[in-house]
C-alpha cells in the first residue's frame, strides 16, 4: 500500500491553546511554526511553501485572523508557492493543497497552518469586528436572519432529523462527549480535564436541541502547524515521517448548510476509499471532527464503521470508541475537551499517535493507519495518514 512518492508530514507544532491566550494570532502562529520546525529537524531556510485555510478574511477575523502574507512577511520566508483561500473544501485544504504543490514540484517543505482567535474575539470583540457591508451575502444570507447564528443551530437540523429517522438518542450521542472528556483528562494541554458522567451529560443545559453544552466544543485561541514535505526528503528528517496516503473532498452540487439532505462528509468518505488501497478495516484509529458531537457520528457512518443510520447504535455504551476499544477516536479529547483548534489538532494527535509520541494520551497498541475527517455541512475533507 505504501506509495514512495506520497508527500509526508515531517513535523507538527502547536501554540498554547486556551479559551483566552493573551498573545497575538500572528505570534501564536509563529510559536506553532517553531515547534513544528524543531519536531521535523528543519529550519526556516528549508521552508519554501506556506499554506493556510481560510486565509485572512476581514469579515470574520475571529475565524481567520492570519494569512499566508502575514507569515511570509514576518519571517521573510523565501517561498516558491503559497496559498490561503476560503473557497475550498474544508480546513484540510491547507494540507491537501500543500500535498498537490509538493507533488507538482512547486515546493519541498510547506508550512500548513490554521490559526483561530475565537477566544479573544469573545473577550475583546472590538479587536475582531464582524463587518457585513450592505447586509449578509452568499451562503449565510438565508440562514443568519433567522437568528441561526451558530453552527450548533445548523448541525442540530441534521441531528434532529437523524433522531427522527433512526431513533438515535441523547444517551447514544452523549458517548462522544463522555469519551472526549475521558481522553481529555489525560491530555496536559486540554482545556477541560475533568471527566463527565452520563448523568452530567443528560443534565447539561440545552444549547440547540438536541445538542447540549457538552455536545459543543469551546471557542479557543490556537495555532497548529503541519509541515508537508516531499517524499525524497524523508531520509534527512529528524523524526518519523508520516505518509499522507490519501486526501479526499467532495461537494455534490449544493454549497449551503441548509439545502442538502446528505451533508458532504458522506460523499467525501466514499471518495476517500476510492483514492486509497486501504479500507476501513485497515485503519487503527480515528481523529474525527467533534466541533459538535453529531458531526463525529456522521463521520463514523460516512467512513463505514457502521451502516448509515446506525451511528447511534454503534456508539451505544461507548466501548467501541474508547481508547481500549475496537476503534479509538479523539484520543487527545478532541475539540470538545482540548479546544477548537479547527481540525488541525486532530492531525497533530494522529501524527503523535502513529509515531508513538503521544505521551499521556498514547494508545497502547501498534498502529499504522489513522483516518481524520473535518468539516460540517458543505465543508468536508478526510485524510488517511500512515506510518510505513
Amino acid at each position: 500500500m505504501s506509495n514512495k512518492s506520497d508527500p509526508v508530514i515531517s513535523g507538527v507544532g502547536q501554540s498554547a491553546v486556551g479559551k483566552f491566550v493573551d498573545r497575538s494570532p500572528l505570534l501564536l502562529t509563529i510559536d506553532a511554526i517553531k515547534e513544528a520546525l524543531d519536531d521535523a529537524g528543519l529550519t526556516l531556510a528549508d521552508i519554501d511553501g506556506v499554506s493556510t485555510w481560510p486565509g485572512r478574511v476581514e469579515t470574520m477575523l475571529e475565524m481567520a485572523p492570519v494569512g499566508c502574507d502575514d507569515v511570509i512577511e514576518a519571517l521573510r520566508l523565501n517561498v516558491t508557492w503559497y496559498n490561503g483561500a476560503y473557497e475550498t473544501a474544508a480546513q484540510y485544504s491547507a494540507i491537501g493543497d500543500a500535498v498537490a504543490a509538493v507533488r507538482a514540484g512547486w515546493a519541498r517543505h510547506v508550512i500548513a497552518f490554521r490559526t483561530i482567535s475565537q477566544g479573544s474575539a469573545r473577550k475583546k470583540p472590538e479587536e475582531f469586528p464582524s463587518v457585513h457591508p450592505k447586509g449578509i451575502a452568499g451562503v449565510m444570507a438565508n440562514t443568519l436572519p433567522y437568528h441561526a447564528y451558530s453552527a450548533a443551530n445548523w448541525v442540530a437540523q441534521y441531528a434532529s432529523r437523524h433522531f427522527h429517522d433512526y431513533g438515535t438518542t441523547r444517551e447514544q450521542l452523549g458517548q462522544i462527549a463522555i469519551n472526549a472528556r475521558r481522553n481529555g483528562a489525560l491530555n496536559p494541554k486540554a482545556i477541560f480535564r475533568e471527566p463527565i458522567t452520563m448523568d452530567d451529560y443528560l443534565a447539561a443545559r440545552m444549547i440547540s436541541s438536541p445538542l447540549c453544552l457538552y455536545d459543543c466544543d469551546t471557542l479557543s485561541d490556537a495555532s497548529t502547524v503541519v509541515i508537508v514535505s516531499a517524499a525524497d526528503t524523508a531520509r534527512d528528517l529528524r523524526n518519523i515521517p508520516i505518509r499522507i496516503d490519501a486526501v479526499a473532498q467532495a461537494l455534490p452540487g449544493r454549497y449551503t448548510w441548509d439545502q442538502p439532505v446528505e451533508p458532504a462528509c458522506y460523499p467525501t468518505a466514499r471518495r476517500l476509499w476510492e483514492l486509497s488501497d486501504y479500507s476501513i478495516k485497515d485503519v487503527d484509529i480515528g481523529q474525527l471532527y467533534d466541533g459538535f458531537s453529531f458531526l463525529t457520528l456522521q463521520w463514523i457512518e460516512a467512513l463505514g464503521l457502521c451502516p448509515i443510520g446506525e451511528g447511534g447504535r454503534y456508539l451505544e455504551g461507548g466501548h467501541r470508541i474508547a481508547r481500549d476499544g475496537e476503534f479509538p477516536i479523539n484520543t487527545n479529547g478532541g475539540q470538545i475537551a482540548a479546544g477548537r483548534t479547527h481540525a488541525f489538532g486532530y492531525v497533530r494527535e494522529a501524527v503523535r499517535q502513529l509515531r508513538g509520541q503521544a505521551g499521556e494520551t498514547q494508545v497502547d497498541r501498534d498502529m499504522k493507519v489513522c483516518v481524520t475527517g473535518a468539516g460540517g455541512g458543505p465543508l468536508s475533507m478526510a485524510m488517511l495518514l500512515a506510518r510505513d
Binding site: 449578509i136 444570507a141 437568528h147 436541541s209
Partner: protein, 137 residues
C-alpha cells in the same frame, strides 16, 4: 426580539425578500422545465435555461427538521426560539430555513404542518411559519 441580520438585496433576490409585502411567498422557478431554484439563480440547474422567474407558491408545508435554540448568542435575543427547515408543498428540492413562531412554536416537531406568515423589518419581509391550526397541541 433582537433585530434580524439583514440579507444583502440584489437584483436576483429582491423579489424573495419583498414578496411578503403582498402576503405571498415566491420562489424562483424555471419556466421551461419547472425546476425550483432556491436560493435564486439566473439559470436553471437542470436544463440551463435562462428563462427563470419568481413564482407565487402556496406557502404551506411540513417541518423537515427543527431545533429549539436556548443560547442567547446576542444581546436582546429572547430565548428559546425554534429554527426549522421547512419543505414547501409543491416545491420539490427546496428547504427554507426559517423560524416557527406563534402558539406552540417551541413544541413543534418534524412532520408538523406549517403556514407562511411574514415579519417586516426595514423593507424586508422575512418568511416565517406558524403551525397549521389542526396541528396545534
Amino acid at each position: 426580539m433582537a433585530t434580524r441580520p439583514r440579507p444583502r438585496l440584489t437584483p436576483l433576490n429582491r423579489f424573495y425578500w419583498e414578496a411578503g409585502r403582498e402576503g405571498v411567498l415566491k420562489i424562483m422557478q424555471c419556466r421551461e422545465c419547472g425546476t425550483w431554484i432556491h436560493p435564486a439563480a439566473p439559470i436553471c440547474p437542470s436544463c440551463l435555461s435562462e428563462n427563470v422567474a419568481p413564482q407565487p407558491v402556496e406557502g404551506t408545508g411540513g417541518i423537515y427538521s427543527i431545533t429549539v435554540n436556548y443560547q442567547a448568542w446576542a444581546p436582546g435575543l429572547d430565548v428559546p426560539y425554534a429554527i426549522a427547515r421547512v419543505a414547501l408543498d409543491g416545491v420539490d428540492g427546496v428547504l427554507l430555513t426559517t423560524n416557527i413562531v406563534g402558539d406552540g412554536a417551541v413544541e413543534a416537531a418534524i412532520g408538523d404542518r406549517v403556514q407562511v406568515c411574514f415579519e417586516e423589518q426595514d423593507g424586508i419581509w422575512f418568511p416565517l411559519f406558524t403551525r397549521a391550526q389542526e396541528d396545534k397541541r
